[in-house]
Symmetry: C2
Subunit: 317 residues, 2 copies
């Protein structure tokens, strides 16, 4: 099969699948639309955590232990910030800092986040296109037992500890998808749209809260396949399961699929979850969903593409 | 002698004398008014080179080889900036960067450079007060054979190579001295005002171009003693001598003294220069002016203070 593939992705988990896809596909046919709901200003610097994780992962620079930030990182800047009484709860490595300084400078000079991301990807030798979901600000905020918290405040400073009762994607209603993102989702050569195994509430939620992106999925001309971030009732990483439970939702792959109903055609789950009660309209495919090695990522990427291709063939019969 | 001492200072040379003064005086009696004509925005960050050099020198953090920047510095940020295609001609170390990020953030939040400098000095455990000459922008620019250049463009990027035919201190006419600087210069407990052995054109020139500072020196109530940055026709560091020649001035200690005429009472020169033809109204005192060791700095500081004290005694007889 040829054709273009678009992935909607958050940070670490989504980036791993994107890396797998970039190795089983011609990278020129792969477009990633990244969540920007986590973006924030810290120490005066514009930080886009999910874009950065995808950039570093595809550039081969990501720290393999953490799954985010740069490998072989040093922390002299943070030590000096601490000495000067600056904020230290969000840690910026010395090399990583360059990305934020350069992005902040270019934003101040009038460039869009889309322009800047394309420039950074080119400089880092990244093949697939990486597009922010929007050049308009969208900010994920959490209603918690400690009041409303900004995303990074909840996620990093408070380590996902406060109970969450509500999530808002501020600005999403008014946010336009970036022109390139919209064009990618409407491309007549589209082979598949993939929703990565990212947190459905914190990473995919903001993407689907942008009306133009949700509409593009609802009116899809190619199969949409989502990959479950939940395996056997647990999130591979992060607070997905904890947060689902706090919001009164079962922390299961089925529940994630239910949340995507109407927007996806197939759902890829780990074999341990394949017997769940999934919505009837969603085709369920089992494939090992834990991505520890690079081979795991390639296999899951191939299985996901195969699922989309089977759907396309059955639809065209 | 007791009383307050104020030093007008640029970067490396001035900072060395200030360090000497801070060791022979009660630091609480020492105030440094720093040139801000070199300040600039680089990579979107607000950089104040002379203030930083004074801060690092007094905090014991300065790189002993270069005389500016931090000791034990690392350069991962610069490597990453280069990788991202950012500007690399002005090098910012990983730890040094924290100062600029924190200053930029605080300026954006509405703090003055005076407030921020006081905060940074406190955090770094610096005893003497360090005051920017003004919270208003003053920018030294150079008319050269290559056209008008911003200071750092000339000084760092072009390594002082272009011939200079004119110097402007843009904004100086309209700049008010910081309130604290003016109060320090008018303090009735003032023992001496010292002009450090900094470049008279690039470091002291902008300070004296601020009308309120020049007036405070012209109407001084305590002796003003300058220390020569020229020894035997050569600048200890930097382009002072080269630039004086290009502007048609003899590169001599006498010429520096002539430039300060009407504003100083005494001039401290190295013994090799003591027989020059100095303006009659200026008392000339010889003291070894090369500051290689910490003892050199203390001796020159003591000699400079002694010169001021002798003038004060002879005036009061």
């Amino acid at each position: 099969m040829t054709g273009m593939v678009v992935v909607l992705s958050g940070g670490v988990g989504g980036a791993k699948l994107v890396l797998g896809l970039s190795r089983v596909l011609d990278p020129a046919k792969l477009t990633v639309i990244a969540n920007t709901g986590d973006d924030f200003l810290h120490l005066g610097l514009a930080i886009s955590p999910d874009i950065d994780t995808i950039l570093y992962t595809l550039a081969g620079l990501v720290d393999p232990e953490r799954g985010w930030g740069r490998r072989d990182e040093t922390w002299k800047f943070m030590e000096a910030i601490e000495q000067l009484g600056g904020e230290t709860w969000f840690r910026l490595g010395d090399a990583d800092l360059a990305l934020h300084v350069e992005r902040t400078r270019r934003l101040a000079a009038g460039a869009t986040l889309s322009d800047i991301t394309a420039h950074l990807a080119r400089r880092l030798g990244v093949g697939p296109r990486i597009l922010p979901m929007s050049d308009d600000p969208v900010r994920t905020r959490l209603g918690t037992a400690e009041g409303w918290l900004d995303f990074q405040d909840y996620f990093v400073r408070r380590r996902c500890e406060p109970l969450v009762h509500e999530i808002r994607y501020e600005g999403a209603d008014a946010a336009a998808p970036s022109a390139a993102a919209l064009a990618a989702l409407r491309d007549p050569r589209l082979r598949a749209i993939i929703i990565g195994p990212s947190n459905p509430l914190l990473s995919i939620g903001p993407l689907l809260a942008v009306p133009g992106i949700r509409a593009a999925l609802a009116n899809r001309s190619a199969p949409v396949v989502a990959v479950s971030p939940i395996i056997a009732g647990k999130a591979v990483k992060g607070p997905t399961a904890k947060m689902m439970r706090e919001l009164g939702l079962p922390a299961t792959a089925e529940e994630v699929a239910r949340g995507y109903a109407g927007l996806i055609d197939a759902f890829v789950v780990d074999p341990v979850d394949a017997k769940g009660a999934f919505p009837a309209a969603i085709r369920v495919l089992a494939a090992p969903a834990l991505m520890e090695t690079i081979e795991d990522r390639e296999r899951l990427a191939s299985a996901t593409l195969a699922a989309a291709d089977r759907l396309a063939r059955s639809a065209s019969v």
